[in-house]
Symmetry: C2
Subunit: 465 residues, 2 copies
Amino acid sequence: MDQKDSATIRVFSLNCWGVRYFSKRCTQRFTMIADMLLKEEHNIILLQEVWSEKDYLFLRKKLASSHSHCHYFKSGVIGSGLAIFSKYRIQDTLLYRYSLNGYPYMAHHGDWFGGKAVGLAILNIGTLTANVYVTHLHAEYSRERDTYLPHRVVQAWELQQFIRHTSAGADMVVLGGDLNMHPQDLGTRLLMSYTGLRDAYAEAEQFDGCDNGLTLILDNPFVSKKMVMPFERGIRIDYILFKVAQTFVLFQITISSQTLVLYFQGSCQADIHCAAMCTTKGSVSGHPLPYSDHEALTAELKLDAHAVPQAGGDFQSKSRHCSGDDVAKLVDILTEARTEVKVGIHCAERMRRTATRMVAMGLALLLLELAIAAVPWLALGAEQAFPHTSFYLLAALCFAILLGTSLLYVFYTMELKSLQGTEDQMRLAVGGLQEKLREFPVAQPGGTQKKPLEELEPNVFCPED
Amino acid sequence: MDQKDSATIRVFSLNCWGVRYFSKRCTQRFTMIADMLLKEEHNIILLQEVWSEKDYLFLRKKLASSHSHCHYFKSGVIGSGLAIFSKYRIQDTLLYRYSLNGYPYMAHHGDWFGGKAVGLAILNIGTLTANVYVTHLHAEYSRERDTYLPHRVVQAWELQQFIRHTSAGADMVVLGGDLNMHPQDLGTRLLMSYTGLRDAYAEAEQFDGCDNGLTLILDNPFVSKKMVMPFERGIRIDYILFKVAQTFVLFQITISSQTLVLYFQGSCQADIHCAAMCTTKGSVSGHPLPYSDHEALTAELKLDAHAVPQAGGDFQSKSRHCSGDDVAKLVDILTEARTEVKVGIHCAERMRRTATRMVAMGLALLLLELAIAAVPWLALGAEQAFPHTSFYLLAALCFAILLGTSLLYVFYTMELKSLQGTEDQMRLAVGGLQEKLREFPVAQPGGTQKKPLEELEPNVFCPED
């Protein structure tokens, strides 16, 4: 009765480093990328840092024959940089802009101008619905003094929220992109444990690529030692993550005085695993330069779809957020994240206070100048007036200070609102989790709480008497 | 076998007009609102324009005994103004900021500074999950020359997208707020036909309120004739909309060589209808002034939940997007919306070109001034130099022009990106709908296409031979 459907989905992800007139050999590299993509024929291509629409249009033209469905996510001044090319029909798209993304005055870091976001494309893979997400989080410029950590934690929080809330109707979820976070970083743990996404690198049956799955390596000529410090060989910050829908639906029906209890997984059951994964290793054979400063990732996901869902089955092993330990772990991660966000709130408040003081100082300076200028004007007999040049220069300085610091005040207020909003949401989430935790039987330290799993007994067909 | 669960959910929505130091009698009105809410004991309270957090905290304190769950959505400089109070536990929240929301230089309209958004709160109502949305769209300042129409259409598009993509896991959906759109406006049609939300006013079995459900009326002393022009008595722009989950899931199972075909509606079937609705009518008995310039809305939603889903049933009457006519209607609305967005793109492009010209003019003026100033400096013999005061004033003017127009250029670029992004998404949606339309049999003009509904035959239990 089962119509078993097996498919291999090849997912590709690359941060293209496509800043025109700034990134080295940009045009040449995009030609190389297009040729490779045309040859490799991946099913889903997720690109980041395609900052110029011209480069996107170039890729679209080149890949028209192989990938007829594509979408470029527009956002901010220079765009979100996110693009998706697909062999499957794109049914719908949605973009979510992160509420925090660095500081405009840190122009040399440039993140603020990028309008970073997460893009969602809903694809039809046969009878299944796949939610494919592509994103790029704020860069980490210093491992020791990472001033952007609260911003990245907020982004990771918003990313997991967006994925969770939009994927309820999906049969499978794929996320690809440059997360700018190491595998054990707070944001990665927050994202993975909340969404239940699985790491293609960690689960791949076969792997061919850099040691430890590194994606920003010193062997790449575009990468400097400073970019990966204090790590000697490189870092892993690009990911392909995936999962199948894991909503359990319990149905109980009575047919001719017999009770049937059924458990279904999502709207259409599917099994997924990562058969193989590979990354580029700094250089590309036959080419003088690599595709980008990041390594390219390819994951081969094997999907076993059952057109008809199977009752019971091995759902127990895949059931998530069911054990008390899992919930306790989530509470720990959330507490850590809240601390980071609170540090951010503290910093933003301090900066806003400084901005307020600067506004006051600018005003005082202006008043002082006006007073000095007014003295000779009032004392009509005085011969020497305030020198014109100095007067205008000082006035211009005062206005510049007032304008700049007022803008900073507004900016820090917005930052504060976003951070406080996230903290509110996290507090709500911790409250909910703690309530859930109380429902579990007294914790056996180190042991997994079985109760909720036992409640979900598999596929029972029992006569009523 | 069915555990029938019936509940009445009283939903309240009000645009509070809470601009401190600007809105009339703000503090007094918030006290009135708090007293009324405490007395009325609505289940869900959706407020807009609570711009000051102090007012929210005041309401939270007053309603602590009656509504223990609440959330204030923080966004932008002065906040999103959105708040929710609930008798049900708030499980999770999410905020989506609209990508377009007026112009910063239209400071007297003030919408841009509001950071308008849609807030989502996920509530547990018994065994059901309710997605409750609260929003406030850009105001319409002139019916004849509505320059903000493309922005409002983009907001309506983003609102329906956000609701559709986040409500797949919900059993019921409620949206309350000030949409700033009339019932037959393009944005309202776009929102309602795409999401399938039903209008509480239109469906209410009993209604007590202003004629035609008006929510901004001349009888309200805070409302001027200009605000509702060219309509004589008032306009209807505030809504409470609702629906139950309508995902059909088809299951087919074999039990002891018998085939069972079942159709389920959502994860947990529920029926909903609006038993009663009422609005305030300009004044409040026993008080010298109304709660706000908008009228307050209360809808009584009757929810019949079945803990166990019923197979078959009356899904046919509720089935959405099934007929060719429905799809054709959606295509028409989308085409109209695309036209509006294209008008917006055209305007934004024209404004950006004007900004470019202004930047060029500012630069030319600066160069001219420098040239004039350089002449006496070069011709050393000249006696009369450029007068200092004029020089500095002119230079300041040039810099102000350059700064202002550059900012405008950046702003229009961002506006253009958002509009183009929406147009891309709409084009994708029209393409998908047209494909769906082709799947239907040749259209019988005026007649509803029955095929897909007939395919969904109710609850069949048939032996295999």
